[in-house]
């Protein structure tokens, strides 16, 4: 079982030969491939990361613009609302004024009519009272 002979050194030589051959056909080429792939992946990842950053920046910009546009539109809406309010207030005021004037006119008319009616009534009262007096006292006395 423990009989050492030329097997051991020959095996060692054989192992070293295997090591060199494997280094030629296995370790060196495949290591190169792995390293190249790692580089490739790294560069691609970097590229992708850059693109991601770019898109992020762009989205931020768009969002900023969107916010600005929204603000503007709100401003427009606010001014339009204010204008509309003002217009309605003006119109209302005008209408109220008109109504006031018409009311006053009508009141005046009523007043004049009332006065004229009063005047005619007074005349009538006068003439009636004269007639009453004439009837009671006689025409001569009344003059």
């Amino acid at each position: 079982m423990f009989d050492f002979d030329a097997t051991a050194p020959l095996m060692a030589v054989q192992f070293l030969i295997l090591m060199f051959l494997l280094n030629k056909v296995f370790y060196t080429p495949l290591s190169k491939v792995l390293d190249e792939r790692a580089d490739y992946i790294q560069s691609k990842e970097k590229d992708a990361r850059q693109r991601l950053a770019q898109t992020k920046q762009l989205t931020q910009e768009y969002e900023k613009q969107l916010v600005g546009a929204r603000k503007q539109s709100q401003e427009v809406i606010a001014t339009a609302q204010a204008e509309a309010k003002k217009i309605t207030a003006d119109k209302l005021a005008e209408a109220q004024k008109l109504a006031q004037i018409q009311k006053e006119q009508v009141q005046q008319e009523i007043e004049t009519q009332k006065q004229s009616a009063m005047a005619t009534l007074e005349q009538q009262v006068d003439s009636l009272s004269r007639q009453i007096l004439e009837k009671l006292l006689g025409a001569e006395l009344v003059k």
Partner: protein, 251 residues
């Protein structure tokens, strides 16, 4: 061995045999080598090489099929080395630690998954290459050399300062550690794999069907963990040799 011959009575059964320490000897000049170890290790090596060549033959940016698998393996090995050696230092040591892990892992699993025993060879039987102490000792000694090399190439002769670093009284223990490290590395791997195959063999000998299956699954698990442990420890030893009072002063 004659007096222990009684233990190998089980070898007379045809269903399952338990063989330890029998080798298919090849002679190269005046040296002897264990043929069965080399046969399976060549299989393991060719599996690794073919898988890597297939994976890198037609490299694409989006991995498919075996390229995907091998990339996963490579990332796993990188993490393993990175955890032990740190982000800065791990690259030059990735082939060593990675190959340690891959070789041991594929060896162990081939021993557990492939029915080597069905292929008859004279005088022995095929098993995982890590089933032989020569393989594990070779790997462990390579690890020792690797961490010595790492220390010397990083600090020159200043590496010896590591031996008397916290207090000089630890010098004998530190020297002893240099011997126990490869010893424990090789014995841990060898013992685990051998124990695994022995337990399965004994169970197969007792109950040939179904009962050994859970233990085989456990064996797969342990052998994976042992490969991980070996590679992790190799990384830890190398890291220990590299980092030293330089960085501590830098703090």
């Amino acid at each position: 061995m004659e007096s222990l011959e009684g233990l190998s009575v089980i070898n007379s059964f045809h269903l399952a045999t338990i063989e330890v320490g029998k080798h298919f000897i090849w002679k190269i000049g005046s040296f002897t080598v264990h043929g069965q170890v080399f046969m399976t290790s060549w299989f393991v090596i060719s599996v690794l090489l073919i898988a890597s060549i297939l994976a890198t033959k037609n490299i694409q940016r989006v991995p498919q099929g075996i390229q995907n698998l091998m990339e996963y393996v490579l990332e796993f090995l990188r993490d393993l080395a990175k955890n032990q050696l740190g982000e800065k230092e791990y690259r030059p040591w990735l082939p060593f630690i990675g190959t340690l892990f891959l070789f041991i892992f594929v060896s162990n699993w081939s021993g557990a998954l492939i029915p080597w025993k069905l292929i008859a060879i004279p005088g022995s039987e095929l098993a995982a290459p890590t089933n032989d102490i020569n393989t594990t000792v070779a790997l462990a000694l390579l690890t020792s050399l690797a961490y010595f090399y790492a220390g010397f190439s990083k600090k020159g002769l200043g590496y010896f300062a590591n031996y008397i670093e916290p207090i000089p009284i630890l010098l004998p223990i530190k020297i002893l550690e240099d011997f126990t490290k490869p010893l424990s590395l090789s014995f841990r791997l060898f013992g685990n794999i051998l124990a695994d195959e022995l337990v399965v063999a004994v169970l197969v000998f007792l109950v040939p069907l179904f009962i050994p299956l859970p233990l085989m699954a456990l064996g797969l698990f342990t052998s994976a963990i042992q490969a991980l442990v070996f590679a992790t420890l190799a990384g830890a030893y190398i890291h220990e040799a590299i980092e030293g009072h330089d960085e501590e002063h830098g703090h």
